[in-house]
């Protein structure tokens, strides 16, 4: 007996909810949830999302959770905080790189003195 569209829609919602309950790794693409990959995995026709209001709502909620999660780090820092930390680390790295360069220069000058008796000014 052929399955009705309504039943298919209901089954798709059930499948999605049950899958989400299993705490899966949500596939993403360019920072957004990859609906195509999820649909493929759960054997849901991609176009059903726009026609099935329940599916649409679930995906919107999921999308919003993912986006919010991306904007906050696991220890609760905001994106702004993270950017500041990154900038600070980059500054530290730049200072360290500068120091490495200077030390390498000293070693080179030292070797040069030993080989030639000349001082690099």
């Amino acid at each position: 007996m052929p399955i009705s569209n309504q039943h298919k829609s209901k089954k798709a919602v059930e499948n999605l909810l049950s899958w989400l309950e299993s705490s899966p790794v949500i596939p993403t693409y360019n920072g957004r949830i990859n609906k195509t990959a999820i649909c493929k995995q759960l054997k849901i026709t991609r176009s059903t999302i726009s026609s099935n209001k329940s599916l649409k709502t679930i995906f919107e909620t999921l999308e919003s959770e993912i986006t919010n999660y991306d904007h906050e780090s696991s220890d609760g820092n905001s994106e702004k905080d993270l950017r500041t930390i990154v900038r600070q680390l980059e500054n530290k790295l730049a200072v360290a790189e500068e120091e490495i360069l200077s030390l390498k220069g000293q070693i080179l000058a030292d070797e040069f003195l030993l080989h030639t008796g000349r001082v690099i000014q």
């Binding site: 080179l108 040069f112 003195l113 080989h115 008796g117 000349r118 690099i120």
Partner: protein
């Protein structure tokens, strides 16, 4: 004629072409012939090294200035008068990316060109990384884009510096050296003070361009300071670590053509700027020389103080007399009092000098020391400057011994164990820079035994260490003087003992009819000045089968004369064929004896290393070095048992070595030495002593017998080197004194 936009023309007769090196068609010791590509055009370019300084490599983009010439056999060729590596133009960027940026292949490089076109140059010049990583444009991963920009900026600095140096009349090689130290700051540094280049070249080479192109006045402070610096360097190159005030003033005047008053001012300014330091009231040192000798002084005083890590006094073990007796019994010999004292000191102290000439039992001392050390947890490392001496040391002690260069290379990879006793053999040949390198690798609780003969000529490099330490009373030392029986059979140790005591030794007329076992001692062949070289050559031939022989002469000119004669005699095979010549140095052939005239650190060879050419490549071979660089090898030579591949660069510091000057021998010993001895101002008691000391069995002097006799009984020349080490050791021990 090249028409592609990548190739640009300049006015006058000369043209500028820019292209990518597609292949190296031919290389010689003086030039490279390359195939250069710009777009679809291809041209053969001749690049003499004097015009380009660095050997071109495939994949590099070069800017060449020169003229086209038509050759009957080879067709049109571009003859380079000046060339430097440069940045690509137009579509050459595709090949540039492909060859210089790992991660960008030919297809990606073409894609970048099709997306950006000429805008790629703006992107790279402005370090516009976002354009390169933009998914819709460059689409490069961040790290590759970052590397591409970094590489471009380095190449850009190099290109700008090469152009700048050329315009200002400096050589391209100078640009390369300056770039290697100053990097992207090169131009700023040189514009600020062109005399900074003094570290890489002579005062004369930079003075004229500085005055003409940078508007430097004769009494400009930068020039005055450079004059003082150049004077210090001149002294250093002659072996001195310090310079007396009067000499410094004379040099400054001579180098800068300044008045006496201005030269005095220059010295005062240099003192103020800490370019020189005042060692004594009448002696100055360059800053570098002061730092070098101070380092040696501090390290030696640490060893003298017998302190280990954190100034904790070291517990020095006592000598085991039972072991000493066991050594004597096993080897059926008796150690004399001085030898026993030497062993006791070397075993218990952290710095000891063992002084003595040939045949006084230095090897026996070493064997006994090894015997003691075998029963101690501490280890011995043995080094000598020349491969020949290191091999002799290893054979005599049946323990590992290396050349100093090879030892340093090894120790940099695997540091010495704490408490290592480092034995430096023929220590009189060690200059200050070498001593610094050795002291640096000596572990904090290590110790040093220096064995040498203070009567010998000073080292080839600058400074005096062993000879200076011999005169410092606080340093533990033993003089071995009793000549041992086995060595005395050749008569050489007695000859040396007599010369050291300014007495006439036994001199025999060389008699070629004597059997080989009777060919010993100091012999003489009378000759006038004119015939000395040909007699030396004939004798060298005659004794070729008698063991290792080396010719010694006082002057480079005489050595060259003898070397050419011997090279010409040996260059034919038994079937009268000419032996293969080294393609980049045609004065050297297969089987020739060669000598290094400078240190070649990349090959662990020092000034004076003697070798023999064992293989000559028909087609030079590309070799990948340990540091990842590639070079083209032209021949293989054997140095002290080690095979070494030699490049055109190496051959610049290598010449024929059948005859060499005495100070280049670096402590090597031979069965026989032939001493070609015309009248020369170089000759003195120390010179003849050192020359004869190189022979284990026989020394044959060719020349005037009266000169030889006079040299033997003359006073040894003072080791004419101005140094500050004794004063700096005193300062390090007791605090600075004026």
């Amino acid at each position: 004629m090249i028409t592609h936009p990548a190739f640009s023309s300049s006015s006058d007769d000369s043209q500028v072409i820019i292209g990518l090196i597609k292949s190296l068609l031919h290389t010689t010791d003086s030039s490279a012939i390359v195939s250069l590509v710009g777009g679809s055009e291809r041209i053969k370019a001749i690049m003499p090294y004097r015009s380009i300084q660095v050997v071109p490599q495939i994949g590099e983009v070069w800017s060449l200035t020169g003229e086209y010439e038509y050759h009957d056999d080879y067709g049109e060729q571009f003859i380079t008068s000046f060339g430097h590596r440069t940045l690509p133009r137009g579509t050459l960027i595709v090949a540039y990316f492909q060859h210089h940026i790992p991660g960008i292949g030919i297809n990606k490089a073409k894609a970048l060109w099709s997306v950006f076109g000429n805008e790629i140059y703006r992107v790279l010049n402005d370090s516009d990384i976002s354009a390169l990583t933009d998914k819709k444009r460059g689409n490069l991963p961040f790290d590759i884009a970052h590397f591409a920009i970094e590489k471009w900026q380095i190449n850009k600095s190099e290109t700008e510096a090469a152009r700048f140096f050329h315009q200002k009349g400096f050589s391209t090689s100078l640009a390369k050296k300056a770039l290697s130290f100053y990097g992207t700051e090169t131009l700023d540094k040189i514009v600020d003070n062109p005399y900074r280049l003094l570290a890489f070249t002579s005062f004369d080479a930079i003075d004229k361009p500085s005055i003409e192109c940078f508007g430097v006045e004769l009494n400009d402070q930068r020039r005055m300071l450079a004059g003082v610096t150049a004077s210090v360097y001149k002294a250093y190159d002659s072996g001195h670590m310090a310079i007396p005030t009067r000499e410094l003033l004379k040099n400054v005047k001579q180098i800068t053509h300044l008045s006496t008053e201005d030269s005095h001012t220059a010295i005062s300014l240099a003192l103020e700027a800490k370019i020189i330091v005042e060692n004594y009231k009448d002696k100055y040192q360059g800053l570098g020389q002061f730092q070098m000798e101070s380092f040696v002084a501090r390290k030696l005083v640490q060893l003298l103080g017998n302190f280990g890590k954190g100034n904790r006094p070291l517990i020095t073990p006592d000598l085991n007399p039972t072991l000493l007796a066991e050594f004597e019994k096993t080897n059926e010999l008796y150690l004399n009092k001085a030898q026993k004292q030497a062993i006791a000191l070397a075993f218990t102290k952290r710095l000891v000098l063992i002084c003595g000439g040939a045949g006084v039992g230095k090897t026996t001392f070493l064997l006994a020391l090894h015997h003691q050390m075998n029963n101690s947890p501490r280890v011995i490392a043995q080094v000598a400057l020349s491969g020949r001496t290191a091999k002799k040391l290893a054979d005599a002690t049946q323990s590992e011994a290396s050349t100093i260069d090879a030892f340093l290379t090894k120790v940099r990879k695997k540091p010495l164990a704490d408490g290592t006793k480092l034995i430096i053999y023929e220590a009189s040949t060690i200059d200050v820079p070498t001593m610094i390198s050795l002291l640096r690798v000596l572990p904090s609780e290590g110790s040093l035994v220096l064995i040498g003969d203070s009567y010998q000529l000073p080292p080839t490099g600058s400074g005096l260490v062993f000879q200076a330490l011999c005169d410092i009373p606080d340093i533990p030392k033993v003089h071995l003087s009793e000549i041992h029986c086995p060595a005395s059979s050749t008569g050489i140790p007695f000859v040396l003992g007599d010369i050291r005591g300014e007495k006439l030794p036994a001199i025999y007329s060389f008699d070629k009819s004597l059997s080989l076992d009777k060919q010993v001692g100091l012999c003489h062949i009378d000759s006038n000045e004119k015939n000395i070289s040909s007699i030396a050559v004939g004798l060298s031939y005659f004794v070729a089968e008698w063991g290792e022989t080396q010719i010694i002469a006082p002057t480079v000119a005489l050595c060259d004369d003898i070397n050419i004669q011997l090279h010409n005699s040996y260059k034919y095979t038994e079937s009268d064929q000419i032996k293969p010549l080294v393609r980049c140095k045609k004065s050297i052939a297969l089987d020739d004896v060669i000598v290094c005239t400078k240190n070649i650190h990349s090959k662990n060879l020092t000034n004076g290393s003697l070798g023999r050419i064992t293989y000559v490549y028909d087609h030079p071979e590309t070799v990948i070095l340990a540091n990842g660089d590639t070079e083209i090898s032209f021949a293989v030579a054997e140095f002290g048992g080690e095979e070494v591949k030699l490049s055109a660069n190496d051959f610049q510091d290598i010449k024929l070595g059948y005859a060499i000057t005495c100070n280049r021998l670096n402590g090597g010993e031979f069965d026989r030495v032939i001493i070609a001895m015309p009248e020369s101002r170089v000759l003195d008691n120390t010179w003849i002593y050192t020359s004869i000391s190189r022979a284990n069995k026989q020394a044959v002097v060719i020349g005037n017998i009266n000169i030889l006799k006079a040299l033997c009984i003359s006073k040894p020349k003072e080791l004419n080197r101005c140094i500050a080490l004794p004063k700096l050791i005193e300062d390090a021990q007791y605090g600075p004194t004026s």
